[in-house]
Structure formats: structure tokens, C-alpha cells
């Protein structure tokens, strides 16, 4: 045990001396995470609000005077254009409206994510809808019919999600993503330095010639990687929770306004878990970290240099991210218990379910057991690599 701690301490000391690594793994996440989570939302909210309040140019062709007046009331400046589609494409106007044979056609740049044009299209659409309602109401009144005829019943939609699921918002999706990201990026510098780095520096031979069993060397290195992974993940989560909280209070008015918007993007969310939920996430993350760390050490040992190790570890990140992409569609899948046996997929699904308060004991048990088995296999692979002369002396 003593040797494990001695080796882990040395590995961590080497990292502490590399200020660049410390900055990128521990300091940067604290500041980047809140910006990553809330920055785009606030920016979008701000832009959306400004779009609503300011006046935009909209191209018009053959639009009747009453509609032009309705557009002006909705803070839109109608501008006659020759070719509406071209005018929108060239960004001369944000949107364009044609009236032809009793039909309105509205042009906007609607591809490529959130565009200002899309917001203006929404604004024009709203103005037209209001004008249409007004015309219909007037015509009904002229015939002595009340407007209630148009609305024989009301429809209200209520969110029936569990409290945790509702509170979590984007968290359910983002937590597995950030765990994968920070467990790997936090541990990678130590994993590379402790394996391929030692080979490249020539220090591995001295270490292997020391009277320390191989497994203890491996565990010492693994412990150092684990500590860095954990610290990096904690730094990111701290940034997310504290920084997020600060941003939320600093921009509370904008966020509340956004929440009222029908089409506003879902906000960052907050975890509403009981202590058992937090503990479940922690255990899942720790087991997942063990698996990732053992894999990184195996790959690092096989590599001949820092560069080679990094080129092996980067695809590992991609492999781990694939299940997260599918997580977006998890609601369309009928979750089977055997999904929780699949490496990486199980962790992502389990955390998603924990955050949403939907996880079952068998699912969690299968996830933990299978992750532990995979971590054990990866550890054995690393140990086996360590014992092979053709791997250790591959350079």
C-alpha cells in the first residue's frame, strides 16, 4: 500500500509542476462550464428580446395596406422588394412577405440553427395571425355571430414529468456528457505522463527495476490518474453549480423572461435528488472512472511516446461519446435491462435515469456490476501489458 501512495504522490507532484496542465484540467473548467451552459441561453434570450423590441426590415410584395399597418404595429418595417427570396438570401431584409391570389408566402432563413431571420419570421407570423383573428372576429360580428364559435373548447397542456425530471432540464443529458469529458480530459495528462511519458523519458526502466511489485506500480499510477480525473470533474461541476447559480442570480430577469417564452430553449436546470440519488451518481461515476483509467493506462503503456499515447486516447473519447448522442433518443427506446450491461452505454443510461428519478435497483445493480467487471478486465489488460517485454520495451 505504501508503495502505491509513493508512486501516486510522485505522479501528482509531476503534474502539479506543470502549470499548463493544472490550468487546463482544474482552473479552466470552473470558468468555462457556466459559460458553456448558460452563455448561449442568455445570449439567445438577449437576442430574442432585442428582436422583439427593435424594428426589422421585412420585404413585401403585393401586401394590402391593412396588413402593412398590422406589421408596423408589430415593430416591423415593410420594404418593397423586387425579388423577395433573393432579398432574404442577400440579407437585405430579415424576412419577406408576398400576397398573391388570396395566399401569403413568408420567406426567411430557417436553416442552420437559431437565426435572427427565424425570430423575425415568428414576429411576422404573429402579426398576421393577430390580423387574421381580427378580420375573422369582425366578419363574425357583421353576421351577428360571437367569436366563441371559433373556440368550442380549450386545450391545456401540463408537464407530467416527475419533479426530478422537470428540474433536471438539460442536466439529464449534460451530466453524462460532462462526466465522460472531464473524467478523460482530467486524467489523460497524468495517464500519458505516467506511461508513455515514462517510456519516452527513460524512467520506466528504473521504476521497473525497483523492488516494487508490478501491480502496485500500476495501482499507484492508476490512483494518481483517478485523483486528477476526480478533481477535474469536481472543478467542472463546481463551476457548473456555483457559476451557474451566480449567472442565474445576475441575469434572473432575463432568465425569467426566457422561461415564459413558449419556444425558448430549455434552461440549464438543477439537480433535485435525494442523498441516495447523489450517492448513486457518485458510485456510478467512480466505477466509470476506474474503467476509463484502466483503459487509458493500457493504451498509454502500449504507446511509444506522448504523441502516440494521445493519438490512441482521443478515439477513446469519441467511442465514449457515441452512447451520449443516442441518449437524446432514449425516450423512443423501450429500455431493456440488458442495455445496462453494455459498457459506456450503461453508465450514460444509468445517470440519465438517476437524474430523472426513474432508475430501478436492477438497472443500477447491473450497471455497477458490469462496469466493475469491465474495469477489472481493463486493469488486467494493463497489468498484462506491463508484464510484456515487447510492450514495455517497444520503443
Amino acid at each position: 500500500m505504501n508503495e502505491i501512495l509513493i508512486i501516486a504522490r510522485k505522479e501528482l507532484l509531476s503534474v502539479v509542476r506543470e502549470r499548463r496542465v493544472l490550468f487546463t484540467t482544474l482552473v479552466l473548467p470552473i470558468f468555462v462550464m457556466p459559460l458553456l451552459m448558460f452563455g448561449p441561453i442568455l445570449l439567445f434570450g438577449n437576442v430574442a428580446q432585442k428582436t422583439q423590441e427593435s424594428v426589422q426590415r421585412v420585404g413585401v410584395v403585393g401586401v394590402p395596406v391593412e396588413v402593412l399597418e398590422a406589421l408596423k404595429r408589430a415593430k416591423v418595417e415593410p420594404v418593397p422588394v423586387a425579388n423577395p427570396q433573393e432579398a432574404v438570401q442577400n440579407r437585405e431584409v430579415q424576412a419577406a412577405l408576398i400576397y398573391e391570389n388570396g395566399r401569403y408566402t413568408l420567406y426567411g432563413r430557417l436553416s442552420g440553427g437559431a437565426t435572427q431571420s427565424a425570430l423575425v419570421v415568428e414576429k411576422v407570423q404573429g402579426a398576421l395571425r393577430a390580423y387574421k383573428d381580427q378580420v375573422v372576429a369582425e366578419r363574425l360580428r357583421a353576421r351577428g355571430i360571437g367569436t366563441e364559435l371559433l373556440e368550442p373548447f380549450r386545450l391545456e397542456i401540463e408537464d407530467a414529468s416527475r419533479e426530478q425530471e422537470r428540474a433536471a432540464g438539460l442536466f439529464a443529458f449534460l451530466i453524462p456528457y460532462f462526466l465522460v469529458l472531464f473524467i478523460q480530459t482530467g486524467g489523460m495528462p497524468v495517464a500519458v505522463d505516467a506511461t508513455a511519458g515514462e517510456k519516452e523519458k527513460g524512467t520506466l526502466e528504473a521504476l521497473l527495476a525497483a523492488p516494487v511489485p508490478l501491480m502496485q506500480i500500476l495501482l499507484g499510477k492508476g490512483l494518481a490518474v483517478f485523483v486528477m480525473s476526480l478533481l477535474s470533474t469536481l472543478a467542472a461541476m463546481t463551476g457548473l453549480l456555483l457559476g451557474g447559480g451566480m449567472l442565474r442570480s445576475a441575469f434572473s430577469a432575463q432568465l425569467q423572461a426566457l422561461q415564459r417564452e413558449e419556444n425558448a430553449p430549455q434552461l440549464g436546470g438543477a439537480l433535485a435528488l435525494d442523498p441516495l440519488g447523489y450517492l448513486s451518481i457518485l458510485v456510478t461515476a467512480v466505477l466509470f472512472a476506474l474503467l476509463v483509467i484502466a483503459l487509458m493506462i493500457s493504451l498509454g503503456l502500449y504507446a511509444r511516446s506522448y504523441k502516440e499515447a494521445q493519438s490512441y486516447m482521443s478515439p477513446l473519447m469519441l467511442v465514449m461519446l457515441v452512447p451520449i448522442l443516442f441518449l437524446q433518443f432514449s425516450d423512443f427506446l423501450k429500455l431493456q435491462d440488458w442495455f445496462f450491461v453494455l459498457p459506456f452505454v450503461n453508465v450514460v443510461l444509468a445517470i440519465d435515469s438517476i437524474v430523472k428519478g426513474m432508475v430501478t435497483v436492477p438497472q443500477l445493480g447491473i450497471t455497477w456490476a458490469s462496469t466493475l467487471v469491465f474495469a477489472g478486465l481493463a486493469l488486467y489488460l494493463a497489468y498484462h501489458s506491463f508484464r510484456r517485454e515487447d510492450v514495455v520495451f517497444r520503443n
Binding site: 507532484l13 527513460g202 526502466e205 525497483a210 523492488p211 515487447d390 514495455v392
Partner: protein, 270 residues
């Protein structure tokens, strides 16, 4: 010429018919190609003796040192060191010998003190004892105390190599394996390291097995010299014996005459 006490007959290293083969696959699915690094090497080193193995790159010197350091497993022959057999007794043997590799391999972001402490603790020294021993060695090396905590990357190659040797001495090993300890050093650093080794041998009577390209270094430091070429020990003896046998005036000519090869590089000046 260095002469070992003739009453000393106890052996520190006995190597008999040592063989090592490396197998490498040609391409992804190609056949395994065998390359014999050692083809039956036999020699012995007496206690307190300094034995130099001379050979060009690829002659098998580093493979031999790696086998004796317990890093590689031999494919044939026997090795007995300080009464222990390899590979059976490797755990016990590791505590009895120090090893210095060719490139003063260190954790260069760490200080000299931290590097020595780390090594000492791996060899089972208590932290306080390790600290005391590390300080003692750094002082012996002539390193100013204010530099104990400087990162090693800020020190000269010569000083790094001296610290590397000092690291191998932390546990007072009766046996020291030195793999080209002065290769790549400038002439002054080379002289410093050689003087340090002479001083060490005089004070502690450590048995040293040394590999080198440098004829003058071998002649200066070693009681006996072995010529290694293509994985075989071609000749051995004192420097004078080898020169006599080859009928040459200097050791380099003797090497060429007896092995049919030239020492290809790094034959620096003492």
C-alpha cells in the same frame, strides 16, 4: 593498470551461456522474425571488481544489462548474482543492486532531492532515513545546498548523470550496473563522472559492471574488459592482456583486431 586484490576470489556475477532472442512480427499478419541479441555469453565478475563490456551499438550490451537488472527474461543460460539466481530470485536481487541507464533518466520537473527521495522510498527506506541519505549524497556530489530543490531540468547533463549514479547508491548496493554512464556527456562532465566512480570504488569497494563505447574510459576504470560483438563475448582480459593478444599498442586497435569491428561512435576523450 588497475589490479584487483588477488585474494578476492568470491564471485559477484556469474553469467553462463546467456541467450536472448527478440521476436518481431513482419507486418500485421506476417511471420515472426527472430533476432538473437545474445548468442551464448559467459563471463564472471569478482566482488569489488570493475568489469567493462566494450562493444558497438547493437552488440548486445544494453540487453545484457537489462537482463542483469531483471527487466528482461533470458531465453537460455544461467545468471547468478550475489548468490541469487535469475529470474527466480529477482525480487531479492533488486534490493541489492543499483542501475544507471545511458541517458540519466529522471523526472526533470522534480528537484534532485525529490528524485532521490522517490527512489529511496521505492527501495524501502523510511522517509526520514531517505531524506538524510539523499542530502548526504547530494553534498558528496558537491551540489550547493541551495540547488537541492532546483528542478533537474535546470542542471547540466554531467550533474544529472552524477545524481543518477548517486540515486543508484542510495541503498548502498554491493553491485552497480552502469549502462554507458558517460555517453553523450561533454569532456568535462565525462571526467567528473569517471572521477566520481573511481572515488566510489575506492571508498566502498562496490562491484561495478560497466558498458561503454569509450576505450579510454574502460582502461581507466576497469580491472578487466570484455569485447562484445554480435551478441558474443569475443575476448576478455585486462587492457594489457587484450593488447598483447592482439599485438597492438592501444585498446581500440585491439578491439578491431579481435572483433573485426570498429566502435562506431561516442568514443570520447577521457
Amino acid at each position: 593498470m588497475l589490479i584487483l586484490n588477488p585474494t578476492q576470489t568470491e564471485l559477484a556475477i556469474e553469467v553462463s551461456d546467456l541467450k536472448k532472442v527478440f521476436r518481431k512480427r513482419e507486418g500485421l499478419f506476417g511471420p515472426l522474425k527472430e533476432e538473437w541479441a545474445l548468442k551464448g555469453v559467459s563471463f564472471h565478475v569478482r566482488k569489488g571488481e570493475t568489469y567493462a563490456l566494450l562493444g558497438p551499438n547493437g552488440s548486445g550490451k544494453s540487453t545484457l544489462i537489462r537482463i542483469l537488472s531483471t527487466l528482461l527474461t533470458p531465453d537460455g543460460g544461467t545468471v547468478r548474482m550475489l548468490g541469487y539466481r535469475l529470474p527466480e530470485d529477482e525480487a531479492k536481487l533488486r534490493r541489492k543492486m543499483g542501475r544507471v541507464s545511458v541517458d540519466a533518466a529522471f523526472y526533470k520537473k522534480l528537484s534532485a532531492r525529490e528524485n532521490l527521495l522517490y527512489a529511496a522510498q521505492l527501495y524501502g527506506l523510511e522517509p526520514r532515513q531517505a531524506e538524510k541519505r539523499a542530502m548526504q549524497i547530494l553534498e558528496q556530489l558537491g551540489l550547493e545546498s541551495r540547488r537541492f530543490d532546483d528542478p533537474l531540468e535546470e542542471m547540466s547533463r554531467g550533474m544529472q548523470q552524477k545524481i543518477s549514479i548517486a540515486r543508484a547508491l542510495l541503498i548502498n548496493p554491493p553491485l552497480l550496473l552502469l549502462d554507458e554512464p558517460t555517453t553523450g556527456l561533454d569532456p568535462k562532465s565525462r571526467r567528473d563522472v569517471q572521477a566520481f566512480l573511481e572515488d566510489l570504488r575506492a571508498r566502498q569497494g562496490t562491484t561495478i559492471l560497466l558498458t561503454t563505447h569509450d576505450m579510454a574510459e574502460a582502461e581507466r576504470l576497469a580491472h578487466r574488459i570484455g569485447f562484445l560483438a554480435h551478441g558474443r563475448l569475443v575476448a576478455e582480459g585486462t587492457a594489457d592482456e587484450l593488447k598483447r593478444r592482439a599485438g597492438t599498442a592501444d585498446l581500440e586497435e585491439a578491439f578491431i583486431a579481435l572483433t573485426g569491428e570498429e566502435l562506431n561512435d561516442e568514443a570520447g576523450q577521457p
